[in-house]
Amino acid sequence: MTVEEQIREIMARITHVDGSIITRESTFKDIKADSLDVVQALVAVEETFGIEIPDEEAQKFQSFGDFVSYVENQVAQKERV
């Protein structure tokens, strides 16, 4: 599974929406994710990929795509180390 697929699965599990409706353009509101859902998704993603997403970065995410791109970058950086 790609990073995006894994994050989509986590998001769908937390917000109880059908993962297929989550696109890169979806906002958290589109996915019906409230602030607690977002925090829980951050925690789950951090644990899945062994990364840390600072709050100041997470606050910049406007869409699911922003979230995925940030994690993709972190995972790529980690693999390079």
Partner: protein, 258 residues
């Protein structure tokens, strides 16, 4: 330097009230383990300030709502220091909703962090205090008995925390551990702005009969007292630090205007 040579763990010690407590205990000579979760930057900054006071500081990232992470944190403390003298159970979270909108997830998240973490941390801490005694202080809120808009889950979690504090105080007393809580009202912190700014309005934070808002240092002073030997006979109590806020009656408003 009454806490010279002591080791304290402050959960949620990177910012707000936890930070003020960490700095206060460090100023009295204690070395500090700062637990943080979402903000590494403020935890690192607080650690630097502690070191500038001449104490040792260690930071550890853990969501105290997750029992496995609590275990990891205490394993680290056990391996690195071998003991603990003071536990400040301060980390808190919460979901601001009216009772009709509280779902299982919001309830569980808040209870796990605000109440269960205190139990699990106290259990592990008590083992690290074996043979030396210790102090446990948890941070409560006036919302445990006053009703504030959208504060229900947090208020209930804090009421349970105060009850837990009483049980811990009695059951851990034979181990030489003093357990108490401190309940604050509106304290000038980031969390206050986050949860209440909408209701209070910007810049419209409540003052108290004492004439000003409660500051984080006011809370830290009382926590430090409860960690001192002078407070040895205080057990299982929740000390209110609110500048008289909870006793204030609207009837006094008229008097003030005159």
């Amino acid at each position: 330097m009454s806490l010279e040579g002591k080791l304290a763990l402050v959960t949620g010690g990177g910012r707000g009230i936890g930070r003020a407590i960490a700095l206060k205990l460090a100023s009295q000579g204690a070395d500090i383990v700062i637990n943080f979760f979402r903000r590494r930057d403020t935890a690192e900054q607080t650690a630097k300030e502690i070191e500038a006071l001449g104490a040792k500081a260690e930071i550890f990232r853990a969501n105290v709502g997750d029992p496995a992470k609590i275990d990891e944190m205490f394993d680290m403390i056990g391996n690195k220091f071998g003991h603990l003298d003071i536990l400040i159970s301060n980390a808190a979270s919460g979901v601001g909703r009216p009772v009709m909108d509280i779902d299982v997830k919001a309830w569980q998240w808040t209870m796990d962090i605000n109440t269960r973490a205190c139990l699990l941390c106290s259990q592990r801490a008590a083992r690290l205090m074996e043979g030396r005694g210790g102090k446990i202080v948890s941070l409560s809120s006036l919302g445990s008995f006053l009703v504030w808009p959208t504060y229900a889950v947090v208020g209930v979690s804090k009421a349970a925390l105060e009850a837990l504090t009483r049980y811990l105080a009695i059951e851990l007393a034979p181990r030489g551990i003093c357990v108490n809580a401190v309940a604050a009202s509106f304290v000038e912190t980031e969390a206050l702005r986050f949860y209440f700014e909408e209701q209070l309005g910007k810049g419209n934070l409540p003052i108290t009969p004492a004439g000003r808002m409660v500051a984080t240092e006011d809370i830290a002073n009382v926590v430090a007292f409860l960690c001192s030997e002078e407070a040895f006979m205080i057990r299982g109590q929740t000390i209110i630090v609110d500048g008289g806020f909870s006793l204030y009656n609207p009837l006094f408003a008229r008097e003030r205007k005159d």
